[in-house]
């Protein structure tokens, strides 16, 4: 192979061979244009390419190895393998455990007991964590002498026996409590009922408007019952509107306000709920069925004022006379009672369908 020297540099020369390839070689005193043979050429780069392939294969193998190893490490240390539920009378503690038997997470079903407050069993052995939880429950009074502590273990079959044996042997020496180990999760029938919110007899009213009460007209029935509309109009500070008033549907509100069949006095009475104390008003207004009141219900409600118990009305409080006696506004009840009895007779003739 002959080469033509095409370029000279300090440390090398560029040659062109008969294959039109341009290569570098050692400059052994060459001159441009000279034809040379057997030059000392630059190292063949194909070897480097083979090394690259080897490196790529090794890198791929290393990546696969890391992936597989990472998967097994995750499965052993971080994946949930089994669950243990420690059930006492006051609370249940739900533990998630990995394959090594170490606790991953702990959850208390009844947060009131605060069994897990300032206590983190993460990373501890399941038996150690169970022991500590039980001891803490005993010290807090959640578990008393002679109580039975149930352990519900949800794990593959081959490990259940081992877990059961470990728990029973560990707590055997504790004479104060009895231990019951069962397989599986705590069954639904044995679940404690969910704590429901206690129903208080009265609710707090959240005022939305300014505290300055507005003025509304209270119609005080006069002593002369034979005359209609003989009420005495008296200015009484209006109690501020409450959010609970919004329980009335808009249609009902409008019907009440725009009912042409009602006299003004009656309209004011209905709007202002002058016959109700605040607590009583809330009870009625909170009634889900109030805006669905049928004519009968409306009449029945008014009959309540007369002291009769309304069986048809749902969740309508007992406005019997006995209750009136306990009511702070008993006097106004009595006064209004007479008035509503008269008006009830009049209003019952009107169309009360709007309350539906």
């Amino acid at each position: 192979m002959k080469y033509i020297v095409v370029e000279i540099h300090t440390g090398y020369a560029v040659l062109m061979d008969e294959n039109a390839l341009f290569v570098r070689s050692a400059n052994l005193g060459y001159e441009v244009g000279q034809t040379v043979e057997n030059p000392i050429l630059e190292e063949i780069p194909e070897k480097q390419r083979k090394n690259i392939i080897i490196y790529r294969v090794l890198a791929s193998a290393a990546a696969c190895f890391a992936l597989v190893t990472g998967f097994f490490v995750y499965q052993r240390n971080y994946a949930v393998y089994s669950t243990i539920t420690i059930s006492a009378s006051a609370d249940e503690i739900y533990l998630q455990v990995n394959r090594k038997g170490e606790v991953l997470t702990a959850e208390s079903i009844n947060s009131d007991t605060q069994l897990l407050e300032n206590y983190d069993p993460h990373g501890k052995d399941k038996i150690t964590a169970a022991e500590e939880i039980v001891q803490k429950a005993i010290s807090m009074g959640c578990i008393n002498d002679g109580d039975t502590v149930s352990f519900y273990i949800d794990t593959p079959e081959n490990d259940y026996t081992k877990y059961k044996t470990e728990i029973e042997e560990h707590f055997r020496s504790d004479k104060k409590i009895k231990v019951d180990v069962q397989k599986g999760k705590r069954s639904e029938k044995d679940e404690k009922p969910e704590r429901k919110e206690k129903i208080t007899p009265t609710k707090e009213i959240v005022t939305t408007q300014a505290q300055q009460p507005a003025i509304y007209q209270e119609i005080i029935p006069s002593e002369n019952t034979n005359q209609e509309n003989s009420a005495v109009i008296e200015d009484v500070p209006k109690e501020p509107e409450t959010e609970l008033n919004e329980n009335f549907s808009d249609s009902n509100k409008n019907s009440i306000e725009n009912n042409e069949n009602f006299s003004d006095s009656d309209k004011n009475k209905i709007e202002n709920n002058e016959n109700f104390s605040n607590s009583d008003r809330n009870r009625v207004e909170d009634n889900e069925d109030f805006h669905n009141y049928s004519e009968n219900n409306y009449d029945n409600n008014f009959s309540e004022f007369k002291g009769e118990r309304n069986e048809n009305s749902v969740n309508v409080p007992d406005y019997s006379q006995n209750n009136y006696d306990n009511n702070e506004n008993q006097q106004s009840w009595e006064r209004n009672d007479e008035y509503t009895q008269r008006d009830n007779n009049r209003n019952s003739d009107n169309n009360h369908g709007r309350f539906r």
């Binding site: 540099h9 300090t10 090398y12 560029v14 290569v23 400059n27 005193g29 034809t35």
Partner: protein, 240 residues
């Protein structure tokens, strides 16, 4: 730090041939010292071993990276290995008489080469060499218009046989279709898309070896008879 400065210069020399020349020139004492240590004697400018050591130093510049440690140690190792390879190759010629050796001890200044009949005309060879030099200089000027140097072409030339075969196919097609070369000279661009479509070569391959194709296309145009004659075997192959 000196090592940081050297590394910085080496990285610059990788990209720029002039920087590489300057680096070799600056470290000539180092190269001479390493050569002398290997030869166990002093070296002169005319020694081939020194040229080989300088070439080894250039290869060390091209192949150096930080993971290989100190550059000077790496270069020293390269020089030593290159000289060992050179001596192993020269070992094959041991036992042969050099043409430069004198005919006899009595005749001074007359070597064996002078006694051999040489059909070649030295004057003719000089003229051919001068003409070749001029063609190469002209080609170098044209390549500079394309922003390419011979060193770039050596860097960019196909190394694998498979890629070389593809480039040959493209060159053959261009030679057989002069309009391609005319378009190339006119537009100063290689019609890679068209060539890739016709020769069924990968566009990516042609793009990667664009500089090489520029040099060969130029050689194929008028004015480079000597160079074209040198690669006649390549040009005569037509695989289309």
């Amino acid at each position: 730090m000196d090592s940081d400065r050297i590394v910085k210069r080496v990285n610059q020399a990788k990209q720029d041939s002039k920087q590489a020349d300057m680096l070799i020139q600056d470290y000539m004492p180092f190269i001479k010292a390493e050569t002398a240590r290997f030869l166990k004697r002093s070296v002169s400018e005319s020694d081939d071993e020194l040229s080989i050591a300088m070439f080894a130093f250039y290869e060390a510049i091209k192949g150096y990276s930080l993971i290989k440690g100190s550059f000077l140690k790496f270069a020293s190792l390269k020089i030593k290995n290159k000289l060992i390879d050179y001596y192993r190759r020269e070992k094959r010629n041991q036992g042969h008489i050099s043409l430069e050796s004198p005919v006899s001890d009595e005749t001074e200044g007359i070597c064996i080469a002078d006694t051999l009949q040489d059909d070649k005309d030295p004057y003719e060879e000089n003229e051919i060499r001068e003409a070749t030099r001029q063609e190469i200089a002209h080609l170098s000027e044209q390549l500079a218009e394309f922003g390419v140097s011979f060193d770039d072409i050596a860097e960019n030339a196909p190394k694998q046989q498979r890629t070389l075969a593809v480039c040959r196919k493209v060159v053959s097609y261009a030679r057989n279709n002069p309009e391609i070369l005319e378009e190339f000279l006119r537009t100063r661009k290689i019609p890679i898309s068209k060539l890739a479509e016709v020769t069924q070569a990968e566009r990516k391959t042609l793009e990667r070896h664009r500089r090489y194709l520029v040099a060969v296309f130029l050689i194929c145009t008028n004015g480079y008879e000597i160079l074209r004659g040198h690669i006649v075997q390549v040009l005569s192959q037509s695989t289309l």
